[in-house]
């Protein structure tokens, strides 16, 4: 089936079997191997990309269902101005092996946009006011991204610094 994907602001036409996931379309059909395949079952978050601005698991998405959608992968982060987040991951030791990092980065960007829109989380004390980006909020909101090197403190610190700066909010420990 012929589809068009807008990936990192470039249009790509692809002729795909409907079984091809968005993840496999990126990696195998377009050579964009920055997005990683961890569990391939929606449990680890390594495949997280932004689709029309929202983070999703690319492994559970059929590519043909995203015909015409705007997709941002780790390869496109620099031009979205997210290189500061990548630098924060380096500064805070937000990885060891680095395999989960592309998914962590995309997920963090999607998550911070959700906070900007005022979405509550499971750990938000109240559903009413605008959520404050605490360490506990980051941990809860990033729980769909596993890191088997267990770099969670560094990941949290990196997102806290980047998100805190972008948000103008504090990143005090609430946990």
């Amino acid at each position: 089936m012929l589809i068009t994907l807008d990936i990192n602001r470039a249009r790509h036409s692809l002729d795909l079997d409907p079984r091809v996931t968005l993840l496999d379309a990126l990696r195998h059909h377009l050579g964009l191997t920055g997005t990683k395949k961890g569990c391939d079952h929606g449990q680890c978050g390594a495949c997280t990309v932004l689709v029309n601005g929202r983070r999703i698991n690319a492994c559970l998405a059929l590519a043909v269902m995203h015909d015409g959608d705007q997709i941002i992968t780790v390869e496109g982060l620099e031009e979205t101005g997210a290189s500061a987040l990548q630098k924060a991951f380096i500064a805070h030791d937000g990885f060891q092996c680095g395999y989960c990092t592309p998914g962590q980065l995309c997920s963090a960007l999607g998550m911070l946009e959700e906070v900007r829109q005022g979405w509550p989380s499971h750990v938000s004390p109240s559903l009413e006011p605008h959520p404050v980006l605490t360490r506990a909020e980051i941990a809860e909101r990033m729980s769909g991204n596993l890191c088997r090197c267990a770099c969670y403190p560094g990941i949290n610190a990196a997102i806290s610094e980047f998100g805190g700066a972008a948000e103008g909010t504090t990143s005090e420990d609430a946990a």
Binding site: R19, A61, M65, G110, E114, P120
Partner: protein
Amino acid sequence: MKPFDYYRAADLTEAAATHQPGSVFIAGGTNLVDLMKLQVMTPDRVIDIARLGLDRIEDDGDGLRIGALVSNSDLAADPRVRKRWPVLSRALLAGASGQLRNKATTGGNLLQRTRCPYFQDLATPCNKRTPGSGCAAMGGELRNHAVLGTSAHCLALNPGDMAVALRALDAVVEFRDAQGIAHAHPIAGFHLPPGTTPDVETVLPPGALITSVALPAPKGDRQIYRKVRDRASYAFALVSVAAVLRLERGRIVHAALAFGGLGTVPWRDPAVDALLTGEAPSMVLFDKAADLLLHPAQPREGTAFKLPLTRRLLRAVLEEATQ
């Protein structure tokens, strides 16, 4: 994945006309694509309904009408839901991950399949996956299995959080059948216990498509969703409680308690609600409610822990809700 034909439906009529035996509808796909990879589900035809436009939450008198394609994220974040139906927001936020909630839909979430490991393992018998093949969970390793509503053929747990809140809120599931006729079915009785046909999980006839969920005005202002799980986030419920209560002059005048992690369907026992209604809250009363709720439970090795856990959780939730 087994090969399938893919169709993208432009409207409800086309979706219905394209459906035939062996077809499935796909929206968020977070559960279905996974099961297709595992070949637990092997549809001949996959009909994409994601662009049908059923993605709005509309005011409906004093209630809401939630489009079937509203994402779990959008529903949880809706200001109306957060204000008047907070138990629904809380239930949604307690489920899955941020990525999954962005993709998962209201209609699809109601139809999510059990996470019984034997259902997902093609090497073992499962009456739900292959009717008549047997149940590997009987005598197998149990933990995330049901203790209420089970049968001799199936112990599979309904894994939902959202559905538990909808059960306590008396939601109504609205769907079109294959002939295009609109139906509305209370969430009570929408999910079917396994009985002798564990493969039949809801009242939806073949080819039917959920179009919306109607949410009536809340009958209680004290709403709590509390979920106990094996880890703090991103895990299915061991036990969860959705409580919707109203108190007048120190007495409970409305009680709706629904439970996740316990039943083969989102569990609610009208007798428990009736026991609480009209009474003044007390620990003795809450214990009686737990006795009544758990009386028909059939725990096994591996799931027996759920009974004392449910009792403690119920007491804590009722204590908080009646303060």
